[in-house]
């Protein structure tokens, strides 16, 4: 193996000894010097995950989180120098991580936090004014074929748990008391201006928005969704600057 292959393997697998061929000028055990690099790698990656998943860490405590993160790092080290993307696989990892099984909603909270990070860094897009949207909705001819494009930061998450309420409770030091964690929620995540926002939608509204994300025309998307409040859902999208384009051409 090459020098860097040995070095790299031993940095990630902390059970391995210090690689050969290293020395300290003062004759100290090179392992005591190598451990600085190992601590830097482990510590910086764990910190990167902790920064991206603050509520997951709050839910399980720092010690548990750091232990879980170090196992994750060994199994799925970063494959990109872009740390904002590191940890995409953490939610799926948590699903299979036996010691976390007693916090069944943990993986979905991780999914929600990942969507918030993606929304934060998503592409910018100019939004359509409320007046333009009202005009398009008011004209039956236009409405019949109307397609709306949603902001690149907009994401949906369906959870069997009260993922939005659990996440929100951890924004203000409140407890989970009063939250029925088994009340499934449909989360909507988007960036409104510079702020990432999180909402709980009812099932029909969430299906409707998913149809829109798949470029279905507005009326067809509404018809093919379980009952929901269309004006209220559109008002939510308009009010939070989530509509970036209107057109009445047939989508590809």
């Amino acid at each position: 193996m090459s020098t860097q292959a040995d070095f790299s393997t031993a940095l990630l697998d902390t059970r391995l000894p210090c690689p050969a061929g290293l020395y300290s000028a003062n004759g100290a055990d090179p392992a005591s010097r190598f451990s600085v690099y190992r601590n830097n790698v482990q510590g910086s990656l764990i910190n990167a995950l902790a920064d991206s998943y603050p509520v997951v860490q709050q839910l399980v405590g720092e010690e548990f989180f750091r232990g879980m993160a170090s196992i994750f790092i060994q199994q799925q080290p970063p494959h990109s120098p872009l740390m904002s993307r590191y940890g995409d696989g953490l939610a799926d990892f948590i699903d299979a991580f036996e010691p976390a099984a007693e916090v069944p909603y943990l993986a979905d909270v991780a999914r929600l936090e990942r969507l918030r990070t993606r929304a934060y860094h998503a592409a910018d897009a100019a939004t359509v004014s409320a007046q333009q949207i009202s005009a398009a909705l008011a004209d039956p001819q236009t409405l019949a074929e109307l397609n709306i494009t949603l902001h690149p930061s907009l994401h949906l998450l369906n959870s069997a748990y009260a993922v939005v309420s659990i996440w929100a409770a951890h924004q203000q030091d409140t407890t989970l008391a009063g939250i029925d964690i088994h009340q499934g929620q449909h989360a909507l995540v988007l960036r409104n201006g510079l702020e990432v926002e999180v909402f709980a939608l009812d099932h029909g509204a969430s299906v409707f928005i998913r149809h829109l994300l798949h470029h279905r025309p507005l009326l067809q998307a509404a018809q093919d969704s379980p009952p929901f409040n269309l004006p209220q859902t559109l008002a939510l999208l308009i009010g939070h600057h989530a509509i970036t384009d209107l057109n009445n051409k047939v989508s590809p």
């Binding site: 070095f7 290293l22 000028a25 003062n26 100290a28 494959h79 990109s80 120098p81 910018d124 930061s153």
Partner: protein
Amino acid sequence: MFTLNEPVPPRTRAALCGLPPRAGLGLKTGHFREVLGTRPDIGFFEVHAENYMVDGGPFHHFLGLIREQYPLSLHGVGLSIGAEGPLDLQHLQRLQTLIERYQPQAFSEHLAWSSHGPVFLNDLLPLAYDTPTLDRVCAHIDQVQNTLKRPMLLENPATYLGFERSTIDEPAFITEVIRRSGCGLLLDVNNVYVSCINHQRDPLTYLEALPLHAVGEIHLAGFAEDADSLGDRLLIDDHGAPVDDAVWALYRQALERVGPVATLIERDNHLPAFNVLLAEAQQAEALLRHARSQP
């Protein structure tokens, strides 16, 4: 062996780095609004390139506004110039896009590696200094400078151990890289001090052995202190403390030899209030003012 170009004629400092010879600060996301609100009198800001390799959102919003008012230094931490494998072309492309967007006055990277195969290790890892490494580093810097169509600055590393394989000492290695590639030197004075303590060298002797004519920018930072298996001082370049007195002293000696040059106060961990960083930058600014007044 790589095919190497003839050594590039030395560039002037202005060609290597367009930053003013003043003190600058790392731009932290928590300080965006304060910087825009208070417009501190500071020579430039520096950002880590990788943090801004995102599609949109607040990072670009604020950097765009701050760039309109301040010179910018783009400092890469993920290119892995010393890697045994080839450079990540996608990453180089992202750098090019960022440079086109923000037109920074300087671009710098490290004499280190941080990727092996597909794995990115998120740390600046040490190199064995021998001829194959020298050829490889020079070829990678050529590739970077040809792609970005501008010279880069290469930062001297902070290291904690040596390689038995090494046949060239670090200042000589850096001198040869700069001679062959025509890149500039980002002189990290804290790294000089940290490495010299860790390897029992004299910091001033080491400093004087560097190609000081090629210095385009200086970094100052704080270190953490640990001990190795013999109980000897082991300094760790953690950017988590104020600049140490010994590093300030070495900085003064560097300025006497280099003249006034853009100087960054680096702080990435245990971030204090913006005012505390500003005061540290003002301390560097006073020394730069003194250096500017010298004939």
